[in-house]
Every structure is written in structure tokens, then in C-alpha cells.
Symmetry: C2
Subunit: 471 residues, 2 copies
């Protein structure tokens, strides 16, 4: 079944490289098992496995997906008559989940050693009888385990719902709220097991409120739920050209991991070390599976990622940032997505007609992408106020409009960041557009992190990187 | 989309009944929120919601499933040209998972009240500062929460893998091990958080071993993994006629719930009460979604359940019995499944040729089911030893064989309990067969529970219902 088309086999070079990678990872992995189970190394090794497994399975399972009806045509190519597999991000999600489940014992290795009579580093020797009864390991960090598990449940939920979306093509209005369901486990475990609903107030607000911390109470859960809904959807709507969903996700994940690394490299143990280690454990395998997907999804794409991947990626970010207590940092990294969403609202909320697809228009003659447009009939012109706003946007180069001699709109470019970028930079090939948007995402994100750590002192009393745990 | 065929709409009676059920459940649910959050009542109310949601969604989503290619024809019907939706058990699984996630806070209600400053029954008043920091709620039963979450993760994993199986039609040899992956979270959390690997030895063995408890160590994990693989697969292979997958699952769930109830109705609080409450919390919503599915899947079936449901049901049983420490009891309830599996092995392991489908043969003339058969060519007869065994089985009425005048096999009935039942009882209509098998399952299970609680004293020092916690 896997051999109906020759392209599903791995080439000799690919096979050798993957086997090499797996061997290296296996060596590292066995070393960590022999030693003290250093979780970060184990996570790295497992991320290597995750990359190799996703890479091979994405290749092998293509025909199986096509046979199951999960297929699509690439509209931005000259030769777009053949189908390529769709929804391959589901493979990444499932591989990721299996890997992260296998990883569960590692962050707790030392605690398990402490709690059981097995060899290794025993700082505290406990009564064996006590241990044999289970349940009573007072020293065991159960709440850390519970937040780890709740993260997995949220990610599994979003995967299930994402696959449902990919299979059944749920309408936009309905699927917008899919991530809300997946946020329930996160919120519930947050409620049951953590319950911190206070935020640090900016310094300039503190005199008015009279304190440093402000308890948002139930609003905090609303904030988290909104965040859970926004992040996956924002990745999902910045889509439409080869590679862009995965490359933006990789940039965000790399920047989050970079931010985590900052906390781990402080000269003395930082109080938020645990949160940021936790974050790395979830981000490294995500990078593993995403890179494997990117290689197949980059221009010219041999597979499509599907909504599952976008939801899943967005949820990984939400999970690490909420459970790691740095959701404000994530907001800084999502600035291009936030801009894209805000910019899209006129079409999403129906003020401007919204065609089924708003991806950039492929010009078959030049082979380049151009901004796609919404056309206006002569007798169905926008409301005068809206027309005025559209003209102002066009003046600020935030829209391209085409009018006839009498000043009636003929077409306006669609409201997505991809089309806007093409308005600014002119027609370009699909991969160049993906590359430029990714570079922009990286630049904006780095600037965001700079603001976060260098300029935070202007609005907060201290940057939590230097003094206190992140809230 | 949902209205392409008239049958997807709920009838007026159905609508009224469902709204009535939901109203009653909502009333109970709100009462539990106002009171002390009595978790068993909340679970009952949520199970009612689960029934209503599954019932309506199974009806509404039929055409969506068919459109996505999840469809099949019922071969045991006269008019079998039209497709009916397949894999509808996935709806049950997803509804179940959402309901059980929403239920998470309830078993911990009192602990949350103790740990926070909110109203209600405060037996222990804790320092508020302490609480606000999170993480440090020493009184909170984190390990109970962790086992709850691990159960959810295992069930979500099996659902994901089951849907993969239903979509991609994984080969039998491969899919047999699918539940093994889903068992990983269960085993890992068992290892990390519980670690009891001792079993109580039967009294007659105790003098030889010299103690009452025997530590199986790593073998215990092997035992649990094998159990995780066996239970879902055993449900999946006792299949092939309308309603049988769901009705056997409902019988097992009802008997497990009955067994749980025995522990809750002891005159004094039983040490295993918590385990059995835990079990009920998982079984009640399962009964809710299963009943909704059974109504649609019972003869003549309007939907098929799919492998997802079978795996999912088997995993629910494994999860409650492993985390509740009564896996031996589950084995007693699975006796018909174990018999079916053992009886099937000659065909599963290739000693006897195994056709693609072994479901009973539908005789279009009589409208009744008859045992389906494996045919033997004149020049491809079984090995003499196997032939001898087949004749012995036939003598004990454990097989029907048909020989030609020269004693060569022409056909032998297929090795499933459904075919065997038809050999014993003669041809019968599909629903009668399902009913009789279900009744047999109930009778065998009740006898098993009787053995468990009345005769256990013969092999163990005491029945744990009367004196000690179950191990």
C-alpha cells in the first residue's frame, strides 16, 4: 500500500541520516538512563526521535492519507492537477504526544529515586513500607506531575478536535471555538491545582490601586480561555502559502525556548527555573516534529499540514506559557498574528465581503504571487463610511484599492498580512514570501523579547529575570 | 448539510424526551453545585447530559460522517445497497472525554474548599497567603488527581489511535498493538505515582512462598500492559452483528458498577471506597454514551460503531480496574471475551485459514443468520493432526464440520463465539443472537461476581469486601 508511488520511499541519503540521528539520540538517551536521568538531555534525545519518526511517517503515510480522502490540490502551482496529502500535521501531533508521554518519568526521576528503594542518588531515605502503600509519597511533587498531565490532556483534546475539523470541514463560525473545549482541562487543573489569579500591576498603576498584586479572580480564567481560543486560531488564519504555518510556529517556539534558556543561564538558580524547564520539555519535541513537517511542507510543498497542526502548535504555546506563567511574553511573540487578526476583522466580521479563500493570488504567467482581491460590483459598493476608511487605509499603504474613473471601487486587496506584504513588497515567488514573513516574525519576536527584558523596568518595578519569579 | 436525509432530525417525541432528561440533569447538577458538590450525583447528572448529547449528535452527524467517507454497508440485511455511517463510536468517545474533563473538579470539591478561602464546609482553615502561592496545598490529594488525569490521557490516546484505525484501516497484525501505546500513560503514572506491584497470594501458595504478598516488580507492568492490549482487542473481536459491541460493553460496565456499589453499601466505610467511587465516576458517563449508541446501533442498525468504540470501551474497563486495583474482577467479567479469543486463536494464528470477515452468514432466503464457514479445497486439506483435533472439537459440539463421502473436509464453521452459538442454537435472527449473547454475558458475569465475593475465601484468606482494601 505504501509503495503505490515511488516518492514514498526514503532515499538512501535520508535513510542514512535518519539512522545516524536515531543512533546519536539513542546513545544520549541510554546515557541519561544510566546516569541521573538528566531530563533536559533526555528531552533532546527524544526530540531527535520525534523528528526522525515524523519525517519517515510523513513520507510513508502520504498514500494512506490520500486514500482516506485527506488530500488537496496546491492552487499556487502551475501543475496543480494532482492531489497531495492533507492533514499531515496530525502525524506530528500523534508522534509528539507519544514522545511526551514517554518523557513523563524523566523530570521526576530524582523524586522517584528519593521515594523508592532503587539505587542512585538518595538524599532522603524513606520507610519502604510507606512507599509500598503508594499514595503517600509526601515528598513527591504531585502538583508538578498534575500540571504536566493537564498539559498533555489539553494537547490531546486539541488534536482530537483538530482531526475532527480536518475530517468534517467544520464551518468557520463553529470551529473558532474548538480550542475553547481544549482549554477546559487546562483551566480546570489550573483551578484545582494552582489557583493563582493575581497579576503584577505596572508601577504607574500601583499608587491608584494601593498594591502590587491585583487579583483578577474569575476574570483570570476568562483571560486564559480567551488566550486558548486566540493562539491556535491566530496560527490557523496566518496560512495559505507553503510552509508558512510551520515556519511561524517554529520561530515562535525557538524564541520561547531562547527565553527559557535565559532563565536557565542566570548565575544563581532562578526561582522560575522549574517553569522554564517545563516549557523546554514541551517545546523541544515540538521543534523536532515541526522541522520534519517543514521539510515536507516547504515550497514546493509535498504535503499540507491541515488545521490540526495549526491548532496544535497554538495550543503548545498556550500550554507552556500559561502553566509556566509567562503568557504576557507569548503575547509579545504573537504580535504579527495579532496584527493579522486585527487587520482581518473587517472581513471576518462581515463589514467587507469575505471570499471563501483569501490566500494570495497565483499569477500563472509570471509564476509569482500577487495580492488577492475582493471585487465590488458597480451596484454593490461599500457603505460611504467604510469607503472613506478604505481610502484612508490605502493612503497609509495598508490596502490596495482599484477604482474606476467615477471613483467606484472595483477591487480591494484582501485583509491578510500576506496580501498586505505583497502590496508593500510587490509580487514575489511563494517561497520568498514565506521566508520574508518568517524573517519578519523573527525580528518582531526578538524585539519583543528585548522589550520584555530590557524595558520592563519602565512599567514594572523589576524585571523578573533578575529578581523574582514570573507571574 | 445535516438535512440531506430526513432521518437526521430528531422526532418530536425524541426532542421532548431529551429536553426532559437534560432539564432533570441540569436541576440535579445545579443542586450539587449549591450544596457540597456531591460528586456521585454530579456524575449521574453529567451522564444524563452525555446520553442526550451523544444521542442527538449521532443522529445529526450521520451525513457528515458519510460525506467524509466513514460509511459502510450492512451485509446481514436484505436491502444492503445503501450506506450507513461508520465509526459513530468516535462521537461517544469525544462526548465522554469532554464530560469527564468537566467532571474533574467534583471529586476534589471538598479538598478545594479546604484549601481555598471560599465558603462552604471548612474543616481546616489554611493560611490564605499559603494558598495564593499555589503548589503548596499539602492537604490536596494530588496523587488522586494524577491518577484521574492519567486515566483521561489513556482514554484520549486510545480514541486518537482508534480513529486512526477507523480512517486508515490498519492491518490486523499492526492494530493488535495499538492499545499498547495507549497503555503507556497509565503504566507511567502507575510507576511514577503509585508503584504497588505486589499481589496477594492464594492461601494454598502462602506456605511455599512464606508470605502473604508477592512482589511481581517489573512483571506487574508487563501484566498491566498485556491487560491493556487484551481488553480492547477482546471487545473488538467479539463483533460483527448489530449491537453486540455496545451491548456486551454495557453489560460489563453495569456489572463493574454493581460491584462498585457493593463496596459503597457496606455498613461502615470500606477502605477501598475511594477506588470504587473513582470507578463509578468513569463508568456512569460511559453507560450514558453507550446507551445512546446502542439505540442507534441495535438491530436494524442505523449506524456502525467502528473500532474506536471497541477500543475505547475496553480501555475504560482497564483504566477503572487497574487504577481501582480490581483487575482480577474484570478478568471474571471478560470470561466470554477470553473464551472467544482462545477459541479464535487457531484462525488468528493461522493454523486454520482465516477469511477477511468471520461474521455469521446471512441467509437472504430465511432472513436468519447461520454459522459462517471456512471452505477446504480437495487438494488443500488440513494437516492430519489438525484434522484430528477438528473432529474432536466437532464431537464435543465445539465446531460444525462438513465432510464429503471420502472423509475430506468441505467446510468448517469459523472460530468465533457467535458462530459457535449458532451451531448450538441453530439459525436465528440477528437481534435474537445479539440478545442471547448479551444475556449469556450477563449470566456469566453475575456468576463471576458471585465467585469473586462468595468463593474467594476458599483461595484467599478473606474476601476484601468484608475486611481489607483490594490489592
Amino acid at each position: 500500500m505504501a509503495n503505490t508511488t515511488p516518492s514514498t520511499a526514503l532515499s538512501r541519503t535520508e535513510t542514512i541520516n535518519l539512522i545516524g540521528l536515531v543512533s546519536v539520540c539513542a546513545t544520549i538517551f541510554v546515557r541519561t538512563l544510566e546516569g541521573e536521568g538528566e531530563p533536559l538531555l533526555a528531552s533532546l534525545a527524544l526530540s531527535g526521535f520525534a523528528f526522525a519518526a515524523s519525517y519517515a511517517m510523513i513520507r510513508w503515510l502520504g498514500p494512506t492519507f490520500i486514500k482516506a480522502g485527506l488530500k488537496g490540490r496546491d492552487m499556487s502551482k502551475l501543475n496543480n492537477t494532482h492531489y497531495i496529502p492533507e492533514c499531515m500535521g496530525a502525524i506530528c501531533a500523534v508522534v509528539y504526544l507519544l514522545i511526551i508521554i514517554v518523557f513523563i518519568p524523566f523530570p521526576f526521576y530524582k523524586d522517584i529515586v528519593v521515594a523508592t528503594s532503587g539505587g542512585g542518588n538518595r538524599d532522603v531515605v524513606m520507610n519502604v513500607d510507606f512507599v509500598q502503600k503508594g499514595r503517600l509519597l509526601h515528598k513527591f511533587p504531585h502538583s508538578k506531575l498534575a500540571s504536566f498531565l493537564s498539559a498533555i490532556i489539553s494537547l490531546q483534546s486539541i488534536t482530537l478536535l483538530g482531526i475532527g475539523d480536518d475530517l468534517f470541514d467544520i464551518r468557520w463560525r463553529h470551529k473558532f471555538f474548538i480550542p475553547a473545549f481544549a482549554s477546559i482541562p487546562l483551566l480546570i487543573i489550573y483551578f484545582v491545582d494552582f489557583g493563582v489569579t493575581s497579576i503584577v500591576l505596572p508601577t504607574f498603576l500601583q499608587p491608584y490601586v494601593g498594591r502590587e498584586l491585583f487579583d483578577l479572580g474569575i476574570l483570570y480564567y476568562g483571560y486564559m480561555a480567551a488566550f486558548c481560543i486566540f493562539s491556535p486560531n491566530s496560527i490557523n488564519i496566518l496560512a495559505g502559502i507553503n510552509g508558512i504555518e510551520v515556519s511561524q510556529s517554529i520561530v515562535i517556539a525557538v524564541l520561547l525556548a531562547f527565553n527559557d534558556a535565559l532563565y536557565l543561564m542566570t548565575p544563581y538558580p532562578h526561582p522560575a527555573t522549574d517553569s522554564h524547564l517545563f516549557s523546554l520539555y514541551f517545546l523541544l519535541p515540538f521543534l523536532g516534529v515541526s522541522l520534519a513537517l517543514l521539510i515536507h511542507n516547504w515550497y514546493p510543498a509535498r504535503v499540507f499540514v491541515g488545521d490540526t497542526y495549526c491548532y496544535f502548535a497554538g495550543m503548545v504555546f498556550v500550554v507552556v506559557s500559561i502553566l509556566g506563567h509567562f503568557s504576557k511574553t507569548l503575547i509579545l511573540l504573537l504580535v504579527p498574528q495579532i496584527f493579522n487578526f486585527v487587520y482581518s476583522t473587517p472581513q471576518l466580521f462581515g463589514l467587507i465581503p469575505c471570499p471563501r479563500h483569501r490566500l494570495p493570488h497565483f499569477n500563472a504567467r509570471t509564476g509569482l504571487l500577487e495580492p488577492s482581491v475582493t471585487t465590488w460590483e458597480k451596484d454593490r459598493q461599500p457603505h460611504p463610511i467604510i469607503a472613506q476608511v478604505l481610502r484612508i487605509l490605502a493612503q497609509f499603504k495598508l490596502l490596495r484599492i482599484k477604482e474606476d474613473e467615477e471613483g467606484r471601487f472595483e477591487e480591494t486587496s484582501n485583509f491578510t498580512i500576506l496580501n498586505l506584504w505583497l502590496v508593500w513588497r510587490g509580487p514575489m515567488r511563494e517561497d520568498k514570501l514565506a521566508l520574508e514573513i518568517t524573517a519578519m516574525q523573527l525580528a518582531v519576536g526578538l524585539f519583543g523579547l528585548f522589550v520584555r527584558h530590557r524595558l520592563a523596568l519602565l512599567v514594572f518595578r523589576e524585571d523578573n529575570l533578575s529578581i523574582r519569579g514570573a507571574v
